[in-house]
């Protein structure tokens, strides 16, 4: 089958992730939306791999997963630290760095 539907799905998921990052305030949910965006791009990479007939796209998706794992570990640790000191997981509360 053609690759286009997959790409469209990937674009839709990516956009939903974007909007999620922008509208949700719970840091953990924001993080989940970021993961959603990463996954959407992974779908596009895998689709391209199939369309082009080589495995480089899949390797790239694999690397994305590895990096995402590392990022989640560090990111959640940061969220924990912030929560411990501020008793809040809202991204809006961490807004001291401003005018």
């Amino acid at each position: 089958m053609s690759g286009s539907p997959f790409l469209v799905l990937s674009a839709i998921l990516f956009t939903i992730g974007c909007v999620g990052v922008l509208t949700r305030r719970n840091a953990i949910v924001v993080f989940m939306c970021v993961e959603l965006m990463l996954n959407a791009s992974n779908l596009a990479l895998v689709t391209f791999a199939r369309v082009n007939g080589n495995l480089d796209g899949q390797v790239a998706a694999f690397f994305v997963m590895v990096v995402a794992a590392a990022e989640v570990v560090v990111g959640l640790a940061i969220i924990m630290t912030i929560f411990r000191t501020r008793r809040s997981a809202s991204v809006d509360d961490a807004s001291l760095l401003k005018y």
Binding site: I12, T23, R50, M80
Partner: protein
């Protein structure tokens, strides 16, 4: 193809649910749906290895990590719907829609042609093919990711670790402290009162009543109070109780005399208000 048309609406709906779910746990579960859907799509697209990794690493490890952190932070803590940044929601939706439309139009216009398919690349199997690439062309990137993972693990440890700055209290210390409090402030020496004296409810979250009818604050866990899951002491329970008393004498005290306890609210201090927020 069938799998795609079945899965894609589900995934989109689940992803949209991610936007609207009040509780973070629901969001995590919806994300799991999306991820499993994605893994199936990987399988459809001749990527069995990524299918496995997606399930094991993402759904299995990363999402579980999310859930652990959610438990630590507070499972039931939910977002307020009120938007604090003016215009943020409207702008986000507007720009997001624009972005999505542009992307979709763009992708729709691209003529990808007939997919080559991975039959040739996967001739020796998907996993050997990937390994071939990973350990030849991408070997440096692969090694770099290992360094990244180690660094991330160390970083998470550093961030999550908290140094103990006071010596750990022993049982003897606690006992001595309790005696000191009694001597100096007259704090009750015995154990705290147990909750749920009426035995009509899941007693742990229902405060005990003192002899004068007032609820005993100390009989419920403070954590439950802050989480706002403490049940009220229902008025009619108390009235029934008083009715069955032999001497028929109404209990004295603020049960009906103090409107703050038995007026409109009928609530124990610190119990959640009907809108779900703590009143304290």
């Amino acid at each position: 193809m069938v799998a795609f048309w079945i899965l894609s609406p589900i995934m989109v709906l689940a992803a949209l649910g991610l936007l609207f779910a009040r509780k973070a746990v629901h969001a995590a579960l919806l994300l799991a749906v999306v991820m499993i859907g994605l893994s199936v799509l990987y399988l459809v697209q001749d990527a069995p290895f990524l299918f496995t990794v997606q399930i094991i690493v993402y759904t299995g490890a990363i999402l579980m990590l999310f859930l652990f952190v959610l438990m630590l932070v507070g499972v039931d803590a939910s977002d307020s719907i009120v938007e604090t940044i003016r215009g943020q929601r409207l702008m986000a939706v507007g720009v997001g829609l624009l972005f999505g439309v542009v992307l979709v139009v763009l992708v729709g216009q691209v003529a990808l042609g007939t997919p080559t398919g991975l039959a040739q690349a996967n001739a020796d199997g998907n996993l050997p093919g990937l390994a071939q690439l990973l350990f030849s062309k991408y070997v440096f990137a692969f090694e770099a990711t290992s360094a990244l993972l180690i660094t991330a693990a160390v970083g998470a440890m550093v961030l999550a670790h908290r140094e103990r700055i006071t010596p750990k209290l022993t049982q003897a210390d606690r006992a001595a402290q309790r005696m000191r409090d009694y001597a100096e402030k007259g704090t009750h020496l015995g154990p705290l009162p147990s909750p749920g004296v009426f035995a009509r409810h899941n007693a742990v979250d229902t405060p005990a009543l003192l002899p004068d009818g007032t609820p005993a604050q100390t009989s419920v866990s403070r954590i439950l109070m802050t989480h706002g899951t403490v049940k009220p002491a229902p008025r009619h329970d108390i009235e029934q109780l008083t009715a069955t008393m032999d001497d028929g004498a109404r209990p004295r005290g603020p049960i009906d005399g103090d409107p703050t306890v038995h007026g409109e609210t009928e609530n124990v201090d610190g119990a959640p208000t009907p809108d779900g927020r703590s009143s304290s």
